[in-house]
Symmetry: C2
Subunit: 876 residues, 2 copies
C-alpha cells in the first residue's frame, strides 16, 4: 500500500484522517472540518507534514508518489470547481499556503493566483469581463512567485512598480492603466530572468511544483528556525501545504468579501457581528480605503447569501462550541467560507461569552473556566481610558502597572502629598522611586518613572497598590530642580496635566476621559465557578488594612506576605527607625525600638482585624538598613541634632552602611542575627496585637516569616527569639493564641538544604523574586541593560521576573518542596513572589504541590482563575 501524502477537501467531501492536525496542519484540518459540516469552501488539497519531512530526508526532493497524488487531487479540484488548471477559457487558479501543526504567523511563505500565464490571463480577463483585474492579478502573481519561489529581491519589483507609477504620473497602484500593468508584466519577467538566471515558468504545473517546494523550504528559513527555537516547536514536525482554488470577491457587483464574529467580540453580546465590502478583496476590508458595511446590511443586499451565512455561523459556533471569527468571499453570488477560527475578544466579552454559553447549555462550567485567559481579567480590574477618546501618545515606557490615570504632575513625594491635601489629583514623576517615596506614591493617581524595569521599586509597589504606573520611560527627561518633564521639544511644568495608560505603557499630555471598568455579574459567576475547581489557596500580598480589604473583596483567603518595612516609612516612625539604626549600642537600639513598638502593634491590629479568622504571614524586617537612612543634607543635619551626633559622624555611619551589592548584603535574617532586638520588637508587636484581639474575641492566625534563610541555624536562632517573645506575651497578657514561625525560601541554598530547614520551619513561603535573582545571578535593578536583549534573542523565553523560569528556578522550588516535605510531610508551602500572580507560574506551583499562592490584591481574581485552570488540566 502506498502512503497517502495528499488529502482532498471540497464539494462536500474529505478524505479520512483529515482532522489530524499533526498530519495536515491546523489550517488543513480546519478547512476539512468546514467541508465535513457541509459548508461551502473552495476546493483544494493538503500535502501532509510527512511529505515535508520526507522532502528533507530526500535531499529536498519530492517523495515517491507525491507527484501522482498531487496530480490526481488537482483533477478532483478541477472537477469540483468546474474549471481546468491552465485552461484557455475557464482556468483554475490556485493559492499555495503553508500550514504547520501550530500557527507560526508570518513565518512561512504563500503564493496566490498560481496558474496564470500569458494565455490564462486572457481567459481570466474574458471570464471576469475585467482585464484590469486579470492583469493586476498576473502582475501580483509574478511578483510573489519571483520573490518566494525564485529568490528575486523584492525591492527590484517594487522599484519597477514605482518607476511605472512615476512614468504614468499616478500615486497609487490601482490608478495604473491596463497597458501599464501589461508593460509591468513584461518588465517583471525580465527582472526574474536576469536576477534568477532562468525564465519564469509558463507551465502551470511547473509553477505549482515550484510553489510547493518553496513552502516546504520556508519551514527552514533562519527566521522560522529561530521562531521555533523561541517557541519550543520541534524542527522535525515539518509543515503541511494547502493548495486551494482561488475565489475572488472583486469580480463585480455580485461579488464581495467580509469578516464576521459569531458574537460581539467587544461586549460578548450574542449577536452576529462583522462587516463586508462588495466588489472587493479581503485586504480591502482591512486596508480601510473604503468603508465596509455592517454585516446586517447584507441581509437586504443579498438575502440568500446572508441567510446562508447565518446558518453557517450558527453551525460553526455549535460545532466548535466557541465564538468564531470567520472570513468569507462571495464570488459571483456564490458564498465561500475561507477560514474559521476561535475569535479574539476583550476580557468583558470573554467572560460574558463563557458564562452565557454555559447557560445556553453549549459548554459546561469547566470549559467556561478554561475559556477565559486569566491574564485578560486584568483589564476588568482597573479604570481605563475611554475607548472613544481621541488622544496622542507622546512617549511609551513599560506597562508596569495596569489601569489608567490622569493627574497634574509633581516631582517629589512631598509635593504629591501637599497637592493631594489641597484636593488635587497628581501624577508622581520621578527618575526612579525609593522606599522614601511611599507616601507620595500612595496619594498619587499614577506614577511615571524614567528608569527601572517591570520589577523596579515603582513597578512593584504600584502593582501592589493597584495603581497605574508607567516605568522606564527613557524618553522622559526629568529635572527635579527645574520641575520640568521634557519629551523632545515638549516641556511640561509642575501642575500640567498628563494621562498615563499603565496597561499599554503610554504617556499622554493632557487629561483624557476615563471609564471605570465594569465588573459585570458574569465576572462574579465565573469566579465562583473557578473556586469550585481550584486546589490552590489564594492569598494576597498586603501591608495595610486597606490593601487587605481590597484583596478580601477580590476573594483572597489570607495574607501570604505582609512586609513590615513599608510600615517604617510613615511620619515620625522614619525618625525613630533612623535613631534605632544609628544607636551606639544595643541599649540605644532597644530604646528606639520600644518607641516603634506601639506603631507596629497598631499596624498589626488593623491588618489582623481586617483579616479576621484568616492566616496572616508577616515577614520580619528584610531590606538592608541603608534603605532607611536619609540622603539629603537637611534631614541628615536634623537627625544628627536629634541624636546628639556631629554631622560628620552621622555621615560616616551612613557611609558605613553602604554596600557594594546590597542585594547580597546585610539584610533579612542577617539583621535579625546581628541585631536580635529588632526582630524581638517586631515579634512582640505581632504577638501583643494577637493577644489583645484574642481577648476581644477576634480570631487571629499570625504566621511569622523569617526572610533570607540560607541555613537551618539562622532559622533556629530567630525562631527562638520569636518563641521566647510569644511565651512572654502570653504570660504577661494571660491569653493563648495560635501562631506559626516559618521561613521565606528565597536563597538557593535554602532549597538545597530544605530538609534541614524544614526541621525548624512550620511553613515555607517561596520568595521567587529573590530566588530568581540569585539563581540566575541577575540583579533586577540592573538587568535592564541586558535582559530585554536576552528575551529578544530567545536566550530566555520570557523575563524570568515576570514568569517563573520553571526549568531552573522552578527546579529549585520543586527541590525545596520535595526535600521540605521529606522531613515534614504536612509542611505548608506557599509562594509570595511576584510570580504568585502570573498564570503560567501558578500552573507550575499547582503542579509541584504548593498549598497556596500569594499575589497583589489586584491579581487575586487572576490567580483564582489560573489556579482553577491548573487543576482542571492536572487534577490533584
Amino acid at each position: 500500500m502506498t502512503t497517502k501524502w495528499v488529502y482532498f477537501f471540497g464539494d462536500g467531501q474529505t478524505d479520512g484522517q483529515q482532522h489530524d492536525k499533526n498530519l495536515v496542519g491546523g489550517k488543513g484540518a480546519n478547512l476539512a472540518e468546514m467541508v465535513s459540516l457541509g459548508i461551502p469552501v473552495p476546493s483544494g488539497f493538503t500535502i501532509t507534514t510527512e511529505a515535508c519531512v520526507q522532502f528533507y530526508h530526500n535531499g529536498e526532493k519530492w517523495v515517491e508518489g507525491l507527484e501522482e497524488q498531487v496530480k490526481e487531487n488537482l483533477t478532483r479540484v478541477e472537477q469540483a470547481m468546474g474549471a481546468q488548471f491552465g485552461d484557455t477559457e475557464n482556468p483554475l487558479l490556485l493559492s499555495v499556503r503553508s500550514g504547520a501543526r501550530v500557527s507560526m504567523p508570518g513565518m512561512m511563505d504563500t503564493v496566490l493566483n498560481l496558474g496564470l500565464n500569458d494565455v490564462t490571463v486572457e481567459a481570466l480577463a474574458n471570464k471576469s469581463e475585467n482585464p484590469r483585474f486579470a492583469w493586476d492579478s498576473y502582475r501580483r502573481f509574478l511578483q510573489m512567485y519571483g520573490d518566494v519561489v525564485m529568490g528575486v529581491e523584492h525591492d527590484l519589483f517594487e522599484a519597477a512598480l514605482a518607476a511605472k507609477r512615476e512614468e504614468q504620473g499616478v500615486k497609487l497602484d490601482n490608478e495604473l492603466s491596463l497597458e501599464a500593468l501589461q508593460e509591468l508584466v513584461a518588465e517583471y519577467k525580465d527582472i526574474i530572468q536576469k536576477s534568477a538566471g532562468r525564465l519564469f515558468p509558463d507551465d502551470p504545473f511547473e509553477q505549482l511544483r515550484g510553489a510547493i517546494d518553496a513552502v516546504f523550504r520556508s519551514w527552514n528559513t533562519a527566521r522560522a528556525i529561530r521562531y521555533r527555537q523561541i517557541n519550543h516547536i520541534p524542527h522535525e514536525w515539518g509543515t503541511a501545504v494547502n493548495v486551494q482554488a482561488m475565489v475572488y470577491g472583486n469580480m463585480g457587483a455580485n461579488s464581495g468579501t467580509g469578516v464576521a464574529f459569531t458574537r460581539d467580540p467587544s461586549t460578548g453580546e450574542n449577536v452576529f457581528y462583522g462587516e463586508y465590502l462588495m466588489d472587493a478583496q479581503g485586504e480591502d476590508v482591512v486596508a480601510g480605503i473604503r468603508t465596509p458595511h455592517p454585516i446586517s446590511d447584507l441581509e437586504e443586499e443579498m438575502p440568500h447569501v446572508y441567510t446562508e451565512l447565518v446558518e453557517i455561523y450558527k453551525l460553526l459556533e455549535n460545532h466548535y462550541k466557541d465564538m468564531q471569527d470567520v472570513e468569507f468571499t462571495i464570488q459571483e453570488g456564490k458564498l465561500y467560507m475561507l477560514q474559521t477560527r476561535a475569535g479574539k475578544r476583550t476580557a468583558t466579552a470573554a467572560v460574558r461569552i463563557a458564562v452565557e454559553m454555559v447557560k445556553e447549555g453549549l459548554i459546561d462550567k469547566e470549559t467556561a473556566v478554561l475559556r477565559v485567559e486569566p491574564e485578560q481579567l486584568d483589564q476588568l480590574l482597573h479604570p481605563m481610558i475611554d475607548p472613544k477618546a481621541k488622544y496622542e501618545v507622546i512617549a511609551t515606557g513599560l506597562p508596569a502597572s495596569p489601569g489608567a490615570a490622569a493627574g497634574r504632575i509633581v516631582f517629589t513625594a512631598e509635593e504629591a502629598e501637599e497637592w493631594k491635601n489641597r484636593g488635587e489629583q497628581v501624577i508622581l514623576v520621578r527618575n526612579e522611586t525609593s522606599p522614601e517615596d511611599i507616601g507620595g506614591m500612595d496619594v498619587a493617581e499614577g506614577i511615571l518613572t524614567a528608569r527601572g524595569g517591570m520589577t523596579s521599586h515603582a513597578a512593584v509597589v504600584a502593582r501592589g497598590m493597584g495603581k497605574c504606573c508607567v516605568a522606564g520611560c527613557a524618553a522622559a527627561q526629568i529635572s527635579e530642580a527645574n520641575k520640568t518633564l521634557t519629551f523632545g521639544d515638549t516641556v511640561l511644568n509642575e501642575g500640567d496635566w498628563v494621562t498615563l495608560n499603565g496597561t499599554a505603557g503610554e504617556v499622554i499630555v493632557g487629561k483624557v476621559d476615563m471609564i471605570e471598568a465594569e465588573v459585570a455579574g458574569d465576572f462574579a459567576t465565573l469566579m465562583e465557578w473557578a473556586d469550585e475547581f481550584r486546589a490552590l489557596g489564594i492569598r494576597t500580598n498586603a501591608d495595610t488594612p486597606h490593601d487587605s480589604q481590597t484583596a478580601l473583596d477580590f476573594g483572597a483567603e489570607g495574607i501570604g506576605l505582609c512586609r513590615t518595612e513599608h510600615m517604617f516609612f510613615e511620619g515620625e516612625r522614619t525618625s525613630l527607625v533612623r535613631q534605632m539604626i544609628f544607636a551606639n549600642d544595643s541599649a540605644g537600639r532597644e530604646a528606639a525600638l520600644a518607641k516603634l513598638l506601639p506603631f507596629q502593634k497598631g499596624d498589626f491590629i488593623g491588618i489582623f482585624k481586617a483579616m479576621e479568622g484568616l492566616p496572616v504571614t508577616v515577614r520580619l524586617l528584610d531590606p538592608p538598613l541603608h534603605e532607611f537612612v536619609p540622603h539629603d543634607e537637611e534631614t541628615i543635619k536634623r537627625l544628627a541634632a536629634d541624636m546628639g551626633l556631629s554631622v560628620d559622624t552621622l555621615k560616616a555611619r551612613i557611609e558605613a552602611l553602604e554596600e557594594i551589592n546590597p542585594m547580597l548584603g546585610h539584610r533579612g535574617c542577617r539583621l535579625g542575627i546581628t541585631y536580635p532586638e529588632i526582630y524581638a520588637m517586631q515579634a512582640r508587636a505581632i504577638f501583643e496585637a494577637a493577644a489583645e484581639l484574642t481577648k476581644d474575641g477576634v480570631k487571629v492566625l499570625p504566621e511569622v516569616m523569617i526572610p533570607l534563610i540560607g541555613t537551618v541555624e539562622e532559622l533556629k536562632l530567630m525562631k527562638e527569639v520569636c518563641v521566647e517573645v510569644a511565651d512572654q506575651v502570653m504570660d504577661e497578657m494571660g491569653v493563648k493564641f495560635e501562631y506559626l514561625v516559618g521561613t521565606m525560601m528565597e536563597i538557593p541554598r535554602a532549597c538545597v538544604v530544605a530538609d534541614e530547614v524544614a526541621s525548624e520551619a512550620e511553613f515555607f513561603s517561596f520568595g521567587t523574586n529573590d530566588l530568581t535573582q540569585m539563581t540566575f545571578g541577575y540583579s533586577r535593578d540592573d538587568a535592564g541593560t541586558f535582559l530585554p536583549e536576552y528575551v529578544e534573542k530567545g536566550i530566555l523565553e520570557r523575563d524570568p521576573f515576570q514568569s517563573l523560569d520553571q526549568v531552573g528556578v522552578g527546579a529549585l522550588v520543586q527541590m525545596g518542596v520535595e526535600k521540605g516535605r521529606s522531613a515534614k510531610p504536612n509542611l505548608k508551602v506557599g509562594v509570595c513572589g511576584e510570580h504568585g500572580g502570573d498564570p503560567a507560574s501558578i500552573d507550575f506551583f499547582h503542579r509541584v504541590g504548593l498549598d497556596y499562592v500569594s499575589c497583589s490584591p489586584y491579581r487575586v481574581p487572576i490567580a483564582r482563575l489560573a489556579a482553577a485552570q491548573a487543576n482542571i488540566r492536572n487534577p490533584r
Copy 2:
C-alpha cells in the same frame, strides 16, 4: 551478667576492651594503652561513656551497679598505689577528669586533689613534710570543688584570696603563709556553705560521687552543647570519666615534672627533646616563672629516671609510629607518665619526620603522605620573620596572604611603581585595592589594607601573586591625602618602614629580619610520593608567564584559570579598553578592540609558551565594564579629549555603567552577548597565538572558558562566536590546532540545568567563589558585616569563601557534575575558585569525581598533598 561500667588501669594491668575509645574515651584509652605497654602510669579507672548515657536516661542518677564497680575499682587503685582513700596516714588523692571520644578542649570539667579534708590534709602535710604544700592543695581543691561540683561563683573565692593577699601584704599566692592558707580554707568552707546552701562534704567518697556527677553534667553545659553543634559531634555520645591517683612533682628535691617530644618539633630532627623542672608541678613548667632545664640535663641529675624515660619514649614512638608529646612526673624518685599524644610540629618538622620515618621503616609512604597537614605546607612556601627576631605587633588584620615582607610605605599604586623604580622596597598601603592597583601591587613587597576580607580584591590578587598581604586591618587609619598611616597614637609617614606578617595578619613598625623558608629535599620527596597516590589533576590560576612558571615549578599540570581582565590594566591598554567601552557603536568598539588584539595575543603567546604541551583555560572577559572606567577627574578629562567627547558626556556614560548590584549585573557572558565583538577579539587573540606557536612547533592546548553561563543558549551563542573565529584563523593561517570551548559553572541555575549546558560545553570548570556568593546570597565584598559573627555563633562552621560549603554549595557542584556527565559521560570537570587550594574542599572535589582542581601557584604543593590524601581516604 551485669554490664561493666568501670575499667581499671595501672600496676601493669588493664581490663579488656579498654582500647575502645568509644567506650572509655580518648584519654582513658591512651592511659590504658600506656599501662599495657608496661609504662608506669598512676593507677586509676575509667567510667564508660555508656554510664554517662545511662546517667541521663535515669534522670541524672547513677546506673545500677556503677556505685559497686566504682568502689571495687577504688580498692584496686588503693592497692596499686599503696595508699588508702581518706586514710589518716597515707591518704590516696584522686583526680577526676572528663574524657570524650574526641577531644573537646576546655569544654568540660576537672577536679584535682580530691580526697582532702581536715584530717587527710594533716596526713598529707606529714607525709610530704611540707604543710604549706598540703594546705595549698587543700585550698585549691576547695576552690575547684566549690566551683565545679557545688556551683559556687568562682569570683567569690578569688575575692577572698585577693583579700588575703592584701591583708598579708603580698603580691603572689605562693607568698601566702601557712596560717593564711589555713584561714583561707576556713573562709572557703564558709563561702561554700553560704553560696551553695550546704556544707562542703568531708567524706571522700561523697566528694568523689559529686565530682563524677559534675563531670557527667559538664557534658551538657551550654558551651559544650554549642561546641558539639559547631563540630558536629553527636550529643548522644556522652563522656567517660577518668578517676586517677594524684602524683606530685613538687614533693621535694627528688620529685619533678616535665614535657618532652620524641623528636625535635621545630626541625623534625630525630633527637629526644624537652624540658623539666625539679620540685615543681606541671603548670610551673608552662608558667615560665622558673626556667626549665633541657631534658638532657636529667641524664646527669637522675640517670636511672632518664634511662627509663628514654626507653619509654622509644617504646611509645615505636608503638604509635608517630612523634609523641609526653608529660611525666617524678614523685619522690619514681617516674610516672601522665600523658602521651601525637606531638604538634612545624611544617618543616612534619615533612622531615614523615620522610625519615619511612626511611627508618617505621611507616609506609601512604602513612607519610597522610601525616602532614596540607595547609601546613604553606609555611614552607613563603619567606618568614626570623623566629629569633624580637618585635612588637602594632596591629592585627586578616592573614590574607601568607609570608612576611618589609618595605617602606606608599599610599598609591603609582607611587609604589615610582619608588620601586628608584630601587626601594615598598609596602602598598590602601584602604582597599581595585583592579587599577594591579601594577602597584605587583611591585610591592607586601600589601596592607584597612578594609576587606579574606576574599577581598587585595587578598585574592596577593595570594595569586604569592605576595604577603594583611587585609582588613581595621585599626589602620589611612589618609591618602596626608600620606599617613595611623595606629592610635602612632603616625607613620610615606617612606617609613613597616614589616607585615601575612601568615599571622600582623603589622610591625620598622624592619624585622626575614628568613627565606627552607624547601628541604624531604619536601620534594614527600611531594613525589603524594603524586603517586593522587587521582585529581592539579592546575593553577595564572594570568602571566611569570605566574605560570612559578606554578610549573611547584608542579602544576596546566592552567585552570587564566583571567584576561588583569591584562587590560597595563600601560596603554587601559586607555584602549576605555575607548572600547565608551565607543558610540559597535564599529567604534571594534576599532579599539583591533588595537587591543596584538597585546592580548602577546599575553597568550607568553603563557602558552610557558605552559607548552599543557592545557591552558582562558576565561573571556568577566568583570562589569564599570571596573575599567576612570574615576579621577584628570584621567576623565584626558580620556574625553582623546575620544573627542565632552567631559559631561563621558561622565554621564561612566555613571550609566554604575550598577546597584554589580555582582549580579552586566558582566561575564552577558557582555559577550551584548557586545559579541569583545569576545570575538579575545578568541582571535587566543587562536592567533595558538596558530603561530603551532606553526613554530610548540604544542598548545587552549581551552576557552565562557564565564557566568546560566542558560545553555548563552553558551551556544558564545561558542558559535569562538568556533567561527577559530575556523577563520585556521583558514587564514593555514594551520590546525586543537581547542575546547567550555563554561565556568558559577551560577546556581547552570548547576540545575547542567545536563542542558553540557550538551554545548566541552568542559565544565566550577567557579566556586561566585557560586558560593549566589548560592548563599552573600556578597563577599559586604559579608564582612555579618560573616565573622556567623562563624563565631556557629551558624556557619567555616567561612564558606575559604572552605567550600559542602552541604549547600557542594550539593550544587555535585548536581552539576552528575547532570553534566549524564548528558556527556566523558565531560572534563574542574574547579577554579579559591576553594581549589583548600584541603577540605579538595577532598570534596575528589569525592564528587572532578578531574582536576586549580589554585594559585603558591598553593599547588598543598593541593597535590591534599589530593593524595583524598584518594588514600577514598580511592577512586
